[in-house]
C-alpha cells in the first residue's frame, strides 16, 4: 500500500505528458464519474484508468491499490444493495420482511456506485505516481496561478499520505504482535478489529474520553468498540 501517492520512476508516455494534462485528466475522470450513473459507462471509465496505469507501466504496483479499493467498494456495495428497494426482487433476506431484499435495480445501481468509488479513488494515485511533486507545484503556481502557499499546503498534505500510511502500518504490526487478529484473512473480522486502532489514532490527537480503571475481559466487545458504535 505504501506506493499510494509516491512517484514511481518509469520511462513511459504517461510519465512524459505535461503535468497539467495529467491533472486535468484526473479531474476530468472524476467529473465524468459523477456525470455518468449507468453501470456500463462507469465500468468503462474505471477500466480506462486501469489502461492508463498499464500504459504508465506501473500496473504491477497498482494492483494492491486496485485490490484494496475493490474490497472497499464491495463493502459499500453490500450496504447499498440493501438500501435500494425498487425493482424486481431477486432475493429476500428475511422472508416476510419487505425491507431487506435485493432487487435487480439495486444490484445494478450498487455496482455502478462501486465503480464510481473506484474511479474517484484511483485516478489520483495514477496522477501522483506518474508526476513528480515539484512539477505539480510548478504547474499549479505558474500555470494555474494558485497562490504559492495554497499549492504548498496541497502538496504538503499529499506528501504526508505515505508517512501516515507508514505510521498506520507500524501501528497495525505493533498490535498484531500483541495477538490482535488483524492478520486474519477475513475481511469483516479485519474491519471490526481495525476499529480500536482508529480509536488509537484519535487518542494520538489528544482527546481522551472518560476512563475506568479496570480491564475488560471480553476480547470482542471492549468499551472502545461500543464507543465507536455509539458515535455512528
Amino acid at each position: 500500500m505504501s506506493i499510494v501517492a509516491n512517484y514511481l520512476n518509469r520511462d513511459s508516455v504517461i510519465h512524459r505528458l505535461h503535468p497539467l494534462t495529467k491533472l486535468f485528466w484526473s479531474l476530468w475522470v472524476m467529473g465524468l464519474s459523477f456525470l455518468f450513473s449507468d453501470l456500463w459507462s462507469l465500468a468503462a471509465l474505471f477500466f480506462s484508468v486501469v489502461a492508463i496505469a498499464a500504459m504508465a507501466r506501473m500496473l504491477r504496483e497498482m494492483v494492491p491499490v486496485f485490490k484494496g479499493l475493490f474490497f472497499f467498494a464491495l463493502f459499500f456495495w453490500a450496504f447499498q444493495v440493501l438500501l435500494i428497494a425498487e425493482g424486481r426482487p431477486l432475493l429476500t433476506l428475511i422472508p416476510g420482511n419487505p425491507g431487506l431484499r435485493i432487487t435487480d435495480r439495486g444490484v445494478f445501481i450498487a455496482t455502478a456506485m462501486g465503480f464510481r468509488l473506484m474511479v474517484i479513488a484511483s485516478s489520483f494515485p495514477v496522477l501522483l505516481a506518474t508526476t513528480q511533486m515539484k512539477d505539480l507545484v510548478v504547474v499549479l503556481v505558474e500555470k494555474l496561478k494558485i497562490p504559492y502557499s495554497y499549492a504548498f499546503m496541497f502538496i504538503t498534505s499529499l506528501r504526508f499520505i505515505p508517512t501516515f500510511m507508514n505510521e498506520m502500518e507500524q501501528i497495525i504490526q505493533a498490535q498484531c504482535s500483541r495477538a490482535h487478529r488483524l492478520d486474519s484473512r477475513n475481511f469483516v473480522t479485519r474491519f471490526f478489529f481495525n476499529l480500536p486502532l482508529g480509536h488509537s489514532v484519535v487518542d494520538y490527537v489528544g482527546e481522551k474520553g472518560g476512563t475506568d480503571g479496570h480491564i475488560h475481559g471480553n476480547p470482542r466487545f471492549r468499551h472502545w468498540e461500543t464507543d465507536v458504535f455509539a458515535s455512528l
Binding site: A174, Q175, C176, R178, A179, I215
Partner: protein, 278 residues
C-alpha cells in the same frame, strides 16, 4: 528455539533484503544483532514473529514454521518490542494497555488481572497502573510497551533498538530489565547501534551486512576482529580498541571488553575481586 534455514526475503516491491541466512538461536541465549542502517536487521527480527514471512527457506520458532502460523499465535512465543512505544500504546490506562494482549489471547478476567500485576511488577510500573500512558515519560512508555508484551508470557523477547532516543540512564535501565528477564530464562535478541551496550550485555553477536551474516560469534571474538567489523562501518567499543593499539595485546591483556576487566588484568586482580581492589 529459533531455527533459520536458508532464509531469503524480498519486499514485494524489489530487491532481496535478506539472502540465504542460516543460523540457530538456542533457548536462553542473549544475542545482539548489529549492522549498518538498512542492513536488514528489522526485517530479520520481523521474521521471528511472523510479521514477515520468508520468500525462500524457513524460519521455525519452537518447531513451528512461521509460514503455517500467524503473528497472533506466535505472539505467545515471541514478544516484539518496537522501537517507538507509541505505535503500541493506545488504551487510556496502563493496566488496560498491559491487559490487551492477554485479553486477545482469551484469558479470563482474573487471569488478565494477575498477569497485569505480574508484568507491571517486572518492569516497576505498579504505581502507574491507573495512569494514562500518554502522560508518562518516554522511558516509562517504553516500559508499558514492554510489560504489555510480558503479559503474554513469551519465551523469546525481541527488541528493535530499545535504547535509541533514550538518555544514558534510561537506556541502562531498560537493558538491566532485559538482563533480569534473561536471568529468568528468557531468550533475548536485541538490535542496537551502541557497541558499549553490546559489549556489556550480549553473549553472542550476529553482524549483518547487506542482508548477509558477516560474523556470528561470541562478543569477545567479534570485537577482537576489527578489520571484519570495519567492512560494515562498525567499530568495536573503546576498551577493545585501546587494547588493540598495543601490539602485544594478545599475550599481555587477553581480550577484555570492559574497564573492569582491563583493570583487573593490569592489576592482576581477578574480575570479581575488582570491587575490593579499587
Amino acid at each position: 528455539m529459533i531455527k533459520v534455514e536458508q532464509l531469503t526475503f524480498a519486499y514485494p516491491n524489489g530487491m532481496p533484503v535478506l539472502e540465504n541466512l542460516s543460523f540457530e538461536i538456542k533457548s536462553g541465549e542473549f544475542v545482539a544483532l548489529i549492522g549498518q542502517n538498512g542492513a536488514g536487521k528489522t526485517t530479520l527480527l520481523k521474521q521471528f514473529n511472523g510479521l514477515l514471512k520468508p520468500t525462500g527457506g524457513t524460519v521455525r520458532i519452537d518447531g513451528i514454521d512461521t509460514r503455517n502460523s500467524t503473528t497472533g499465535i506466535l505472539a505467545q512465543k515471541v514478544g516484539f518490542l518496537f522501537q517507538n512505544p507509541d505505535h503500541q500504546i493506545f488504551l487510556p490506562t496502563v493496566a488496560q494497555e498491559i491487559g490487551f494482549g492477554p485479553a486477545n489471547l482469551g484469558c479470563s478476567r482474573e487471569e488478565i488481572d494477575r498477569r497485569v500485576r505480574e508484568a507491571a511488577a517486572q518492569v516497576g510500573l505498579e504505581p502507574y497502573l491507573n495512569e494514562n500512558p500518554l502522560f508518562l515519560s518516554k522511558g516509562q512508555r517504553q516500559r508499558v510497551a514492554f510489560a504489555s508484551l510480558l503479559s503474554m508470557r513469551p519465551q523469546v523477547m525481541v527488541l528493535d533498538e530499545p535504547t535509541t532516543g533514550q538518555d544514558y540512564r534510561e537506556g541502562i535501565e531498560i537493558m538491566e530489565m532485559v538482563k533480569a528477564l534473561h536471568r529468568q530464562g528468557h531468550t533475548v535478541i536485541f538490535v542496537t547501534h551502541d557497541m558499549e551496550l553490546v559489549a556489556r550485555y550480549a553473549e553472542r553477536v550476529i553482524v549483518l551486512s547487506q542482508g548477509r551474516i558477516l560474523m556470528d560469534d561470541t562478543c569477545r571474538r567479534v570485537f577482537y576482529q576489527p578489520d571484519v567489523l570495519r567492512r560494515t562501518n562498525l567499530f568495536p567499543p573503546q576498551i577493545p580498541t585501546l587494547v588493540q593499539k598495543f601490539d602485544c595485546y594478545q599475550e599481555d591483556f587477553g581480550t577484555p571488553l570492559s574497564v573492569e576487566e582491563l583493570y583487573a588484568t593490569i592489576t592482576g586482580c581477578g574480575g570479581e575481586e575488582y570491587v575490593h581492589c579499587s
